[in-house]
């Protein structure tokens, strides 16, 4: 048997399969197909899965409740996913595949600011609307894009709630230390935090960054400790949140309060740290304690949503789940209002959308960013995450100042 011809044939077959178009996803004429590149593997696996859960939960509900009504006709919903491996340019290419090969109607955003940005650029070129719930960097919305909409509050506002709360406690926080990972999202959060601190007449005594692949942040913490801050803030993701919190205890940094962006809201944080996670504040886009009354067409309160979600997925929904579902809701209401599946009409309907949901108000400014929804501040108390700020939404009072390490 000669190998040479076989080798040629294999390579040619490969090229052929590559070039072959796959069957369009919207084969049936009465299904609306959404496409979504999410991080099913790579460094953002967990967050990608949370995003997917949020989307799927909505899809199950909507299909069980008559689908989306477009001009009198009921459409079922389907969502096609690809794995972007947590990589920025892969995400955009996958979105392109979803549009060109799989012929999806609309795009649901990926997880993360980096990926959301590249996909936003791509959908702008393709003129297909995208709604995302997991990319908070304002950079995405400062480019003049018309086809991207974000239902979440911008990165700059993440730590505002914690700063606001800390400034109103007794004894009030006067000095702030900010550490941030080097990625775009974390840097924007840090900038916003510094600005908010200044607005609340607090002094920023330390403001530094570390590489987001850092394996050790002890020296950043040592330098921070020297400045003796009242409030320690960290802008990063789950992995570095854990690293920082452990480091703070190891070096005996005794501040009045500790606040993080993504970490505390994930069950992983409390599970991994046990008692050392107590009294830590987390910034959240949503919590199940919020008191919004949503429009009909979906669960109308956060509590109803949380209960149904937990029954389906066996864990309490965190804000990544909720904001992903909210992205779907934006499409749902916009499509119904537009009465059409035409991308331009849906885009215009999205731009004019103004609806309250279990997640909060969904309304976009001229750039496509939802600046109308406030952030929520949670605190881990006795291993449970409770909402403590703004006061109107508080389930429990704030624990402040933090007790010494080991006594929490």
């Amino acid at each position: 048997m000669q190998f040479r011809p076989t080798a040629w044939l294999v390579v040619l077959a490969l090229c052929g399969t590559l070039a072959a178009p796959s069957t369009p996803a919207s084969a049936a004429g009465d299904t609306i197909v959404f496409g979504s590149p999410v991080s099913l593997t790579g460094s953002l696996t967990k967050e990608g899965h949370l995003t997917q859960e949020g989307y799927e939960f909505w899809k199950t509900y909507i299909n069980a409740h008559g689908g989306i009504k477009v001009g009198g006709k009921s459409y079922k919903v389907d969502i096609k996913y690809y794995d972007d491996e947590s990589k920025n340019d892969t995400s955009a290419q996958l979105a392109e595949r979803l549009i060109d090969q799989d012929h999806v109607n609309f795009i649901l955003g990926p997880y993360g600011s980096g990926t959301s940005f590249t996909v936003a650029q791509m959908v702008e070129r393709k003129k297909i609307p995208m709604v995302e719930g997991n990319g908070a960097a304002e950079k995405i919305f400062n480019q003049g894009f018309r086809y991207t909409f974000g239902v979440l509050s911008p990165a700059k506002r993440y730590l505002e709630g914690i700063i606001d709360m800390a400034s109103q406690q007794k004894p009030a926080a006067k000095t702030v230390a900010i550490t941030a990972a080097s990625d775009a999202f974390s840097q924007e959060v840090a900038q916003g935090a510094a600005a908010a601190a200044a607005a609340h007449h607090m002094t920023v005594v330390y403001n530094n960054k570390y590489p987001d692949t850092a394996t050790d942040v002890s020296s950043v913490i040592s330098a921070l400790k020297q400045t003796n801050p009242d409030l320690v803030l960290n802008a990063g993701h789950v992995q570095d949140a854990l690293l920082v919190q452990k480091g703070l205890k190891e070096q005996n940094v005794q501040a009045k309060g500790y606040g993080y962006t993504v970490g505390p809201d994930t069950p992983d944080f409390a599970n991994s740290l046990g008692k050392d996670a107590n009294e830590v504040f987390g910034a959240a886009q949503w919590s199940d304690a919020v008191k919004y009354k949503g429009a009909p067409g979906f669960y109308q309160t956060a509590q109803q949503y949380a209960k149904a979600f937990e029954a389906a997925y066996h864990h309490r929904p965190d804000y990544h789940n909720a904001e992903s579902t909210a992205a779907c809701l934006a499409f749902q209401y916009a499509i119904e209002k537009a009465g059409s599946l035409d991308p331009e009409k849906v885009r215009d309907a999205l731009a004019k959308l103004d609806v309250t949901t279990f997640y909060g108000i969904i309304k976009f400014d001229s750039r496509g960013l939802n600046v109308y929804k406030p952030m929520v501040t949670n605190q881990i108390q006795n291993g449970k995450l409770v909402t403590v700020w703004p006061k109107g939404l508080a389930e429990k009072p704030v624990i402040w100042p933090a007790k010494p390490w080991g006594q929490r």
Partner: protein, 297 residues
């Protein structure tokens, strides 16, 4: 508190772990001429094994060190003997490619088993520390350093004094002569690779005390291992230790750089990697085979 003294201590403590991570990598590379890109995956497996033992059987991580060593040693031995051995004498890039593929396999299998959730090992003494002369030293990190030094010492003794150790060094120097003296090369290679994996597992255990566990957690450690190995000297046990300590100390002191020129913030901690690498390049240009140098007889 004197910041520079604290930085020095931080650097030494961090460097100790990096030394253990680099140790196995360096041995396999120096002795077998194999760049094991799956090394990070082995570290990850060691960490997860420790986590499971801690979570299910309440075994303290330090006590699980021998268990992770043996478990990963066996895995490494079998992997080398029955998979990698087929191309053990191929050009270094062939094995590079093979271990690249193996790494993808192992990480993705781990992803299926343990999902992408972030895990942590927090013991009762986690975070406990003592302060001496104004410098705060965390107990867990100190114990890790002690473990690292002990492991390095034992390994060095074993390689120089024991029969197996001598056979290994003979094989690395001249495979033909070693074979003629009755050394079973395939078996030796498997032992060395198993040793490398076992050390990676041990490193994973030590790392799990402070670093969060995910299937991809090994990646930054492999990069550090590359640099530390070469910094200290390939294949040299003392080299890995010295390289690790130097690397850790440099990165710790780098955070002292914190200036703003105009609107450009120059942050030493943000430029950690760049600074450490400049140090590496300087060392290599002055001493091309690393600080300690290539392991010889």
């Amino acid at each position: 508190m004197q910041l520079w003294a604290q930085d020095l201590v931080n650097g030494i403590l961090a460097g100790g772990i990096l030394a253990v991570v680099a140790l196995g990598f360096s041995l396999v590379w120096g002795i077998m001429n194999i760049i094991n890109l799956a090394h990070g995956a082995f570290v990850m497996l060691g960490a997860y094994l420790t986590w499971e033992l801690f979570r299910q059987l309440h075994v303290d991580p330090f006590l699980s060190l021998p268990i992770t060593f043996v478990a990963l040693f066996v895995l490494g031995y079998l992997l080398q003997r029955y998979v990698i051995n087929w191309v053990a004498r191929a050009p270094i890039l062939t094995t590079f490619l093979l271990t690249f593929g193996l790494s993808l396999l192992i990480v993705n299998i781990a992803l299926i088993i343990w999902t992408g959730d972030t895990r942590g090992v927090t013991t009762s003494y986690s975070g406990a520390n003592f302060t001496v002369a104004g410098v705060t030293v965390p107990w867990a990190k100190l114990l890790t350093l002690v473990a690292a030094l002990a492991i390095t010492g034992v390994l060095q003794l074993w390689l120089t004094r024991s029969k197996m150790g001598r056979a290994i060094r003979a094989t690395s120097m001249d495979i033909g002569a070693a074979q003629l003296s009755g050394v079973r090369v395939a078996h030796i290679y498997a032992i060395v690779f198993g040793l490398g994996a076992g050390l990676a597992g041990v490193a994973g255990t030590l790392v799990s005390l402070s670093y969060a566990l995910t299937p991809t957690m090994g990646d930054p450690f492999v990069v550090a291992a590359f640099v530390v190995c070469v910094l200290g000297g390939l294949g040299s046990v003392q080299g890995a230790l010295v390289g690790g300590l130097v690397y850790g100390i440099v990165e710790a002191f780098a955070t002292q750089l914190d200036v703003t020129i105009g609107t450009q913030h120059i942050s030493g901690s943000g430029l950690q990697d760049a600074i450490a690498l400049v140090v590496l390049l300087i060392v290599l240009l002055v001493r091309p085979t690393g600080i300690i140098g290539r392991a010889t007889a």
